[in-house]
């Protein structure tokens, strides 16, 4: 029986997290269907139909799917669930909110944040803030999984032409309704998909000082992250948080500024290709995972770093 991927999207575009989830689903089963619940989301359904390896797109249009709540979306997933023996969603706040509700209704033990599919019933996932890697086997015949999107390649788009089938939307449950979303508008790249991430920690010292981190990020065209300590201290908004309880990132370059490297933070960034750490404490645990460590006062080193990068860029464009 095929696998079903619940698409994450904004009614205009498929979120890249969905593409990684399709890749995980394809390891489980050669037939992968994608469920797109939205409002005026035809373009998303068409994009999903073009994803490599997708067999069929189930499209469900309703006003209450413009910004769906888990209560309503669950009813839709249950309506189509009979045809699938694996249901997957990305391990983003979208998938984490939705999928356990689906799993409980199906009486299936969900496996969260899967990083590897070993067999149709056997998976790898981390526990204890990324300190322990577990192999988990389920006794349930049906599998409900959330997928760590940095652990799987994104499936290609624009290659396939799967059929799009309409699925009638179940009525609102009336249990919950969306009110509004407060998005931090930013010209910067998205934290979870950026090529470069510059993160600040408690060592940055204040919200004002965080501008230094932002300046470095902007010189590099990078996304901005923060440690939990920096978020707790009010230096940075929570949606910048990288770590066990925040976002998992794996950019090509991760620059940690004034971050000591608590295990909870390392859990969110240690799969980055190159890690740079700037910290005045030579004993900081961040240096144990950093490819390039600089023991220095960040207030001196970061402005210098900005200057040096600008110089390199100037020389490059002059050449």
């Amino acid at each position: 029986m095929p696998a079903l991927v619940i698409a994450q999207h904004d009614n205009r575009r498929l979120d890249p997290a969905t593409l990684a989830t399709v890749t995980a689903a394809r390891v489980l089963d050669s037939a992968v269907d994608v469920l797109v619940a939205g409002h005026g989301a035809r373009a998303v359904a068409e994009e999903a139909a073009s994803v490599e390896g997708v067999r069929r797109v189930l499209s469900s249009e309703a006003e209450h799917f413009a910004n769906p709540v888990a209560e309503d979306l669950t009813e839709l997933v249950l309506q189509v669930a009979d045809g699938f023996d694996a249901i997957l969603a990305p391990s983003t706040t979208f998938g984490r909110n939705l999928l356990p509700r689906v799993a409980a209704r199906l009486d299936v033990a969900q496996i969260s944040d899967v990083v590897e599919v070993l067999a149709p019933d056997t998976f790898k996932r981390y526990i204890y803030a990324g300190n322990v890697l577990c192999t988990v086997r389920t006794k349930d015949s049906r599998r409900v999984l959330t997928v760590r999107t940095t652990a799987f390649e994104k499936a290609a788009t624009g290659v396939g032409s799967a059929a799009i089938e309409e699925v009638p939307a179940p009525p609102r449950t009336g249990l919950a309704r969306f009110v509004r979303r407060e998005v931090h508008r930013s010209e910067r790249p998205d934290l979870t998909t950026a090529r470069i991430v510059v993160s600040g920690g408690r060592g940055v010292g204040s919200k004002e000082n965080f501008q230094l981190v932002e300046r470095l990020a902007d010189v590099l065209g990078a996304a901005i992250g923060a440690s939990r300590a920096a978020v707790d201290a009010g230096f940075a908004p929570n949606d910048w948080q990288v770590g066990q309880t925040g976002k998992i990132v794996a950019p090509e370059l991760y620059i940690a500024i004034g971050i000591s490297g608590a295990i909870q933070h390392l859990a969110g960034m240690k799969d980055s290709k190159i890690i740079v750490a700037i910290n005045k404490d030579p004993e900081a645990p961040i240096f144990e995972v950093a490819d390039c460590g600089l023991v220095a006062d960040l207030f001196k080193a970061v402005p210098e770093l900005i200057e040096e990068i600008e110089r390199v860029k100037r020389e490059r464009s002059a050449a």
Binding site: A104, S112, L294, E308
Partner: protein, 248 residues
């Protein structure tokens, strides 16, 4: 209004766990234990509701080894009124926990269940959503602000894009995120008082739930180690290195 706060006993998040040499499990014997930090935030919120007259009674429940009573005492010292310990030697998993909590909810009839968004040991982030599903209740997950009014709650949720505000009908399950509040430290007099607060002891069988897990954790291993790299002496050297590696 009655509020139910499930709390989990976990290894203290600042203690590093060790994997048994044969890869059969994680050795947590003799490690310092604590209340799951997210659940602490949930207890704090419930106690504040009581202090503001929004909640009449705060009941806390924990499921696990007999020592969960210690964790419940912490919740009682913070201001919960009474506690329920569901004792089992089985390492219970989210679906079975949610089923036991459903049975407790049916007995206790709270208007709100408030709990941590995830436990920092298994990092599953499932139990609250599963409980809401089993009860047919609304769910408001990852809450950073909660406004309770007549029959409804407006909840600001921490989502990847920023903040999402939802309105949920009561009864509801609310799971909490970090920034909701800062949990208090229990004062010595309150710790003493907590020792006299009632703790009821139950078993999964009393709740009609088979605690046997469906997921088998068959192997535990160290994550792939990163090679610690080298230290550079100056910013200039750092930039040269990054240019050499082609990342800037």
């Amino acid at each position: 209004m009655k509020v139910l706060v499930p709390v989990k006993r976990v290894v203290d998040p600042y203690v590093r766990v060790r994997i048994r040499a044969d890869g059969s499990g994680v050795d947590i014997a003799n490690l310092k234990m604590a209340m799951n930090p997210f659940d602490e935030i949930a207890v704090e919120e419930a106690v504040r509701w009581k202090e503001r007259g929004i909640a009449e009674e705060v009941v806390t429940v924990s499921i696990g080894e007999p020592k969960v009573v210690e964790t419940l005492r912490t919740a009682l010292a913070m201001g919960a009124d009474r506690a329920i310990a569901v004792q089992t030697e089985v390492a219970v998993q989210p679906l079975e926990v949610a089923k036991m909590l459903r049975a407790i909810v049916e007995r206790e009839q709270p208007r709100v269940v408030i709990m941590g968004k995830q436990a920092v040991d298994d990092d599953s982030n499932q139990t609250g959503q599963m409980l809401a599903a089993l009860l047919g209740w609304a769910q408001a997950t990852f809450a950073s602000r909660i406004d309770l009014s007549d029959g409804e709650a407006e909840v600001a949720r921490e989502v990847d894009e920023g903040i999402e505000v939802v309105r949920v009908k009561l009864p509801a399950v609310i799971t909490v995120d970090l920034r909701l509040n800062e949990p208090r430290y229990a004062s010595l007099p309150n710790i003493m008082k907590a020792k006299r607060k009632p703790v009821e002891t139950l078993t999964p069988a009393d709740l009609g739930v088979d605690p046997t897990p469906r997921l088998e954790y068959i192997r535990f291993e160290e994550p792939p180690k990163r090679q610690a790299g080298r230290k550079v002496e100056s910013v200039r050297e750092l930039v040269e290195e990054l240019v050499k590696r082609g990342v800037i």
